[in-house]
């Protein structure tokens, strides 16, 4: 096994493609315009990695009927995915996405998810310590369900670092800020879909992003990715700070899943021996390539190579 993907709060994704989606009206969806698939950021990253031929274990908390459907679908996705979830009594959440390609709008309804008991957390930690020793790289991505402390990414990273594993995080600010107090990963990618905050502050100027990226690296993170105005990123490494921008127009209704593709492609690059800025460039190219079409299918390695020509990486510090 190459990777342990941690998805603490997995979800069953329901996608509806409704052109001219209207509130306060009955919106009919033909069956071919709706999809159901396993989701949650960690699960998405795992599914993408399996498409690139990477074998991995997915872990997290799963419960109820929705959890049963999710794991059944995940097993169908690829024989390269091994599942090892901790079962809980509460029901796993569902995420609903409505894509309107006529008005170029994306509406998301994400349920908060289940409550995880302290007993289940204890089972998970014991399981995690055994599983982590079987892989090279750990990816922890997405939200934390109720009952799990915001510092949990840090607790898991502390265990992973005991066995000298490379650790990736993608999460929102509250999780990153609290978890950093316990342990630092090698790579941090900010998920800024719900909040623009970075370390408790809203940044506006480019200089503020550059200074913050520099601070992350100074504190021990090898690579930090801070999303800027949705389609740009500031990248901090020990060698400096870069600003990434696309050379192509990005359709905002096609942005769904681009962050997961970014993370998965970085993990792929790391497993293939790339480091730091090259890893980030590969991830960003994959994310931009993903915005060229609708759907969950990740771009091929060939498409990512092609999109390396459609990104600008400008050194800013």
């Amino acid at each position: 096994m190459n990777v342990l993907a941690v998805c603490l709060n997995p979800a069953l994704d329901r996608e509806f493609f409704i052109d001219q989606f209207t509130l306060n009206k009955l919106n009919m969806v033909p069956s071919e315009k709706s999809r159901m698939s396993p989701g949650g950021k960690g699960v998405n990253v795992a599914t993408i990695l399996s498409k690139y031929g990477i074998s991995l274990i997915v872990t997290g908390f799963l419960g109820g009927y929705v959890g049963y459907v999710l794991i059944s679908e995940l097993r169908k996705a690829s024989p390269l995915i091994s599942t090892s979830f901790v079962n809980i009594r509460d029901e796993t959440r569902e995420n609903i996405v409505i894509t309107d390609t006529v008005n170029h709008e994306l509406t998301e309804i994400n349920s908060e998810g289940p409550f995880v008991s302290p007993e289940s957390v204890d089972i998970f930690l014991r399981k995690f310590e055994v599983l982590v020793q079987k892989v090279q790289t750990v990816v922890i991505s997405g939200s934390v369900p109720k009952g799990i402390p915001l510092s949990f990414y840090g607790e898991l990273t502390k265990i992973a670092k005991k066995y000298d594993k490379t650790v990736f995080w993608e999460a929102r600010d509250e999780i990153i800020s609290e978890s950093m107090k316990i342990a630092l990963p090698d790579v941090i990618k900010y998920d800024m879909r719900r909040s623009e905050k970075i370390l408790g502050k809203i940044l506006s100027k480019e200089e503020e992003y550059i200074a913050t990226a520099r601070d992350f690296v100074k504190n021990g993170t090898k690579l930090v990715i801070l999303s800027y105005k949705t389609i740009h990123d500031f990248i901090g490494t020990a060698d400096g700070v870069w600003k990434f921008s696309p050379k192509v127009d990005i359709d905002h209704s096609f942005l769904l899943g681009s962050g997961d593709n970014f993370v998965a492609a970085m993990v792929l690059a790391q497993l293939e021996g790339k480091c730091c800025i090259d890893m980030a460039r590969y991830g960003y190219a994959a994310a931009v390539a993903k915005t060229a079409y609708i759907g969950k299918e990740p771009p091929s390695r060939g498409q990512i190579r092609e999109y390396m020509n459609f990104i600008i990486s400008e050194r800013v510090d």
């Binding site: 419960g63 097993r75 995915i81 091994s82 599942t83 079962n87 055994v130 599983l131």
Partner: protein, 156 residues
């Protein structure tokens, strides 16, 4: 079914319990996962046992029950309930089958089907050369694969 390997039909699921997990925790897990049994592993994920519903039930019955093979000699169900309560905090390894039948992903489906028929197993752990758990193969997965294969022949 010749040529079909365990790797073609196995479920890549690592649902397991540790040796020191309690009987109560295992019952809870079996209930939530709808599984009839799970592999017991050590801290290196090596399979050291298998615990099924049957093993737990057997542990709650008086030892003479195995010889008599009938519940007619049980004084009442309270004895069963009392025994279950008594062992609920015991480590599961105490009641697990230690000599576990395991298969490798390269083993043939025919070999697994034959063992399932002869021994009555419902779920068999799949391990690597170091006895590390890789997944499981179930009776149902064998049936599903067999049904699929038969249909392929019929189609010709």
């Amino acid at each position: 079914m010749e040529g079909v390997k365990v790797s073609d039909i196995m479920t890549h699921d690592l649902t397991f319990v540790f040796e020191n997990d309690t009987v109560e925790q295992v019952i809870e897990l079996l209930d939530m996962t709808r599984l009839s049994g799970v592999p017991v592993v050590d801290s290196d994920l090596r399979v050291v046992g298998f615990i099924g519903e049957d093993d737990i039930i057997r542990a709650c019955l008086p030892s003479y029950f195995t010889l008599l093979q009938t519940a007619a000699f049980l004084p009442d169900t309270n004895l069963f309930i009392k025994n279950l309560k008594d062992i609920s905090h015991e480590p599961i390894i105490k009641y697990a089958t230690k000599s576990v039948f395991t298969v490798k992903s390269s083993d043939t489906l025919l070999f697994v089907a034959d063992t399932i028929m002869r021994k009555g197993y419902k779920l068999i752990p799949v391990v690597d050369d170091n006895n590390v758990l890789m997944g499981v193969v179930s009776r149902l997965s064998i049936l599903k694969e067999s049904a699929r294969r038969e249909m392929a022949v019929t189609d010709k």
